[in-house]
Symmetry: C2
Subunit: 246 residues, 2 copies
């Protein structure tokens, strides 16, 4: 078992959606912030590993199970634990608990380290992950399976200035925003996500256009984000009907 | 002098821009969150006034002076003070201090109370603002002057699902995002805002398109946001050259 780190977080008004719940892309950003704080506490902050190794962390996959989304003004506990790593990947859980101690979300992430300039995946230095007290494993944990979209509806988006973070790349959270945005607002009011599988394939840079494509099959929506460089991300979201929608 | 309330805030990675500074729309959202916390502490939370009066707070104008923007991972102190009100408007300062105690930003806001259903401006009930210990004044504080745009460049934006907050309206911060986004990225990398005057004229609803229009005259950019219902917001941003840009 890895080193566990926790932080409380209260859902602010400006990150709530029409269902009075936190926006999922925002919650994923906050979770990453929490693992960043853990790394800082363990002496392996993003700045430190950039300085020493010229490497940066990149998420390649999210597998999310949602019992319920945190609501406006609710305080949740975000717990994170790096659990294992192999030559190329590091694996980490985030668990979201409500005030009654019930686990309402589980987020499992695959990370890689890439060289800042070449953007190529690097081998994980053992001493870099040692502070997290994680087990080195041989096998690669298999990612979720995504299907190619055959008859998708397409919507065009232009990458915006504020989509970029301080690295000059499109922030992780934006991909999921584009995926949600192509769904009908009435569907989004009447349903909540039950599981989200999201794979990042290739980074998106400023200045280009992207297509957010979707095929919905009942309560499952299949998504991808494509640009002139091909597929940038893929996702599958399983929805359930809301009992009481706003 | 009104009741003063302060909170520390550390700038998270996911709200930084390519200049390694906080995104201004985000900082304005956090400031509002801080005044919301003050109201809660004083027993006049948004929920309480909605329940008792069926009223909600709406910002009509921001006048912002910026010495420098807070940077990534910097902890700033956000101080807020309601200073005065008249029959229709309430006036409030936000002041941002760095860790050395230097005031790096000043944000002056005009607020009104509107009826939740009719969306009409209501008179300010004296007992509602009494807990803030503010002075009632006769005069209306004059807003900034904005000019009509004659030869503006226009860019079309579609209102997105995640632009909406839990009230189902486009979140305040989005207007400024659309205004920034029409400026050239090289200009935004080489300049920082020195003052921002922003006036909200009319709410924008989901489903429509908006035009973000700009006329730049050297270091001053004149903006508006228009839709089929006319002008929704106007702004003037004064820029200065960055000494060391990223």
């Amino acid at each position: 078992m890895g080193h566990i780190f926790r932080r409380d977080y209260q859902i602010p008004f400006y990150e709530t959606d029409v269902n009075h719940e936190v926006k999922l892309p925002h919650l994923l950003s906050v979770a990453l912030q929490v693992s960043g704080e853990q790394s800082l506490e363990l002496g392996v902050s993003d700045e430190a590993i950039f300085e020493k190794y010229h490497l940066v962390w990149v998420i390649t996959e999210y597998n999310i199970d949602i019992k319920r989304m945190p609501r406006y003004a609710e305080t949740v506990t975000i717990e994170t634990e790096a659990i294992s790593y192999n030559k190329l990947f590091c694996y980490r859980y985030f668990r979201i608990f409500d005030q009654a101690g019930e686990q309402i979300m589980t987020i499992f992430c695959h990370f890689v380290l890439i060289d800042f300039d070449s953007r190529k995946v690097a081998q994980v230095p053992d001493e870099l992950v040692a502070p997290y007290q994680v087990e080195k494993i041989k096998k690669l944990i298999r990612g979720h399976k995504y299907q190619d979209l055959k008859e998708a509806e397409e919507t065009l988006y232009h990458v915006r200035y504020f989509d970029l973070d301080m690295n000059g790349h499109v922030n992780n959270g934006k991909y999921l925003e584009w995926m949600y945005d192509v769904l009908d607002i009435d569907f989004l009011r009447q349903h909540c996500p039950q599981s989200v599988n999201l794979k990042y394939v290739k980074e998106i840079h400023y200045g280009g256009d992207i297509q957010s494509r979707v095929e919905r099959d009942g309560l499952v929506s299949h998504h991808d984000i494509t640009s002139e460089t091909g597929v940038n991300a893929q996702a599958i979201i399983t929805w359930k009907e809301r009992e009481n929608h706003v």
